[in-house]
Symmetry: C2
Subunit: 354 residues, 2 copies
Amino acid sequence: MSRPIRKRRTIITAVPNPTLRDVAEAAGVHAATASRALNPETRRLVNAETARRVLKAAESLGYQPNPIARSLKTAKSRTIGLVIPDLTNPLFPPIVRGIEDVLGPAGYSALIVNTDHDPAREEALVASLRSRQVEGLIIATARLDHPLLRELHQQGVPMVLVNRRTENVDVPCVTPDDAAGVAMAVKHLAGLGHTRIAHLAGPTSTSTGVVRANAFRTALHEHGLDDDPSLIVACEYWTEEAGARALRHLLDSGADPSAIVAGNDLIALGCYDVFAERRISCPRDMSVVGFNDMPFLDKLRPPLTTIAVPHHQVGVEAARMLLELFEESARPARSVLLPLSLVVRGSTARPSRR
Amino acid sequence: MSRPIRKRRTIITAVPNPTLRDVAEAAGVHAATASRALNPETRRLVNAETARRVLKAAESLGYQPNPIARSLKTAKSRTIGLVIPDLTNPLFPPIVRGIEDVLGPAGYSALIVNTDHDPAREEALVASLRSRQVEGLIIATARLDHPLLRELHQQGVPMVLVNRRTENVDVPCVTPDDAAGVAMAVKHLAGLGHTRIAHLAGPTSTSTGVVRANAFRTALHEHGLDDDPSLIVACEYWTEEAGARALRHLLDSGADPSAIVAGNDLIALGCYDVFAERRISCPRDMSVVGFNDMPFLDKLRPPLTTIAVPHHQVGVEAARMLLELFEESARPARSVLLPLSLVVRGSTARPSRR
DNA sequence: TTGAAAGCGCTAACAG
DNA sequence: CTGTTAGCGCTTTCAA
């Protein structure tokens, strides 16, 4: 009989945090039915009229499902972990936003952790993410040799890599088309008439560092330019300071370039510091091209010519890929290369010397 | 009798995801006892030797407590919501890191949402955070008139405001000492000999905009300078474009300043654009001071003199304050003003014209 | 000091 | 189509 239920329904008009049972009682049905009605996936299992009543009851009570209870039952947290080196690097915020723009509408949230490039910290943070039951990981800290990634992969943790890749682990990646980007930079400089072009490469422990350096060498060949090994110097980190050190080293070695392809924008900024130190005029004495097109580069002196990376799109693709992985986790790892574009500003010009 | 338990213990050596019961069985105790032993808070309720056995069992099984189950039981999610306008604004990443540096060690995680300055979006995002059972909110999007904040406060949602304040709601805030910062900027310019100093204020809908503008007027008085109302123009947004528009307006109005105190660094960058447009040489013809000291300002042409805000510290204080609020939610709202410092670079100099 | 029992809010068989 | 039942993994009375 439904009398007692009815009675309760009228008494409980405004519960502080209405539960599914409150809704069910208000609608005069069982909690299970209310659950079915409320979930779009299972709504068709219930009489349309009943469903309507449940929806209305939920609405009027201001019912909000408790995702924690749902998670406990379904063993799905609707949460993913995002592992980045450092959020204050302007590279990452647009990627994060791209990820969240896809995840949010799909009902997922991201937990962000910063590793500060410390493998031990990374391991601890990943462990904490996993203990929080994240369903998958998006990782922006990949090194070529990265035991943690191999281990996670073996344990079947769904993940996708962004920006950088790793070796020996078959994991889907979303990266900029680094080789094409470097080729554009070299073509631009060669077109201006530069013949001694140097490369301040990123760290050789990262795929981005290695891929860009290799692409640089290939591009030189294609343009029939000097492939002097002394024109390539690897930076220890992706930072201004490391870029400055590398350029000083390059200049002191007497390699004498007229143009530089920097591994990324920060390394290019390090070049600016050295230009100031040594009274080198850019672009008159030396041209430089960055990589990434981080914000405010147009405000520099001179404005930096660079390769624009669609960071937001990188995030979007990565998040989509992870969601797809959840759908059919057996799918083979597929990777995506995103197209880049050259942004010509004031840091590149024809060489003034011979 | 413990025989069956023992037996099971030896059989189950490596459960994939060991649960509390697995640990309990392995240690030959009840799940409740294992729970008490594992939780430092309740460990003293259990025999030291038993506790040791439980800890060892947990260790050897690689037990990780399931925070979702715990949350369901305790109605605490160990999660907080962080509401910011836009993560790609370089102001916010250091604040986020400060927050996470405090939250992480305390066992909390942050869910970040970006409102893009859209009140409707903000409302929806806050609702989604609340449905995810966040225990509290850190809000960086406060406007002076902000009905949502008043409503949340009435509902007793623990929250703290960062960067900006709101009116008529008694909520704890962590903000830079805007008035002191503006006073430093004006003092610096006055000391250089400027007498016609303009202010490109932030939006009047935000406390930061209003407080800085008022402080500007006060500082002018203190230095006995022109308080010409036409020297103060409010920008519509905290952006380069709005800053540029405001400066054009100021210049066109004939106010004729020799120096500008910009509401923030982005507004100052907008000034740089106008300087280029109108062939105004900075700092020869016009000095400008920014506010915030966002990254890479030293690389601009000229390097921007600005007021440095300890953003990381802002995040740290805000997170601490929220955690304190959880401890004793009846405590009266307390607010913190963080000290700033002037960073003199190349965008300020003595006035060249008389 | 420990165990038994209950239940957080929800979903998923299963039965009717 | 709907109700019953059980249980996700944990904490917390209450008894013993």
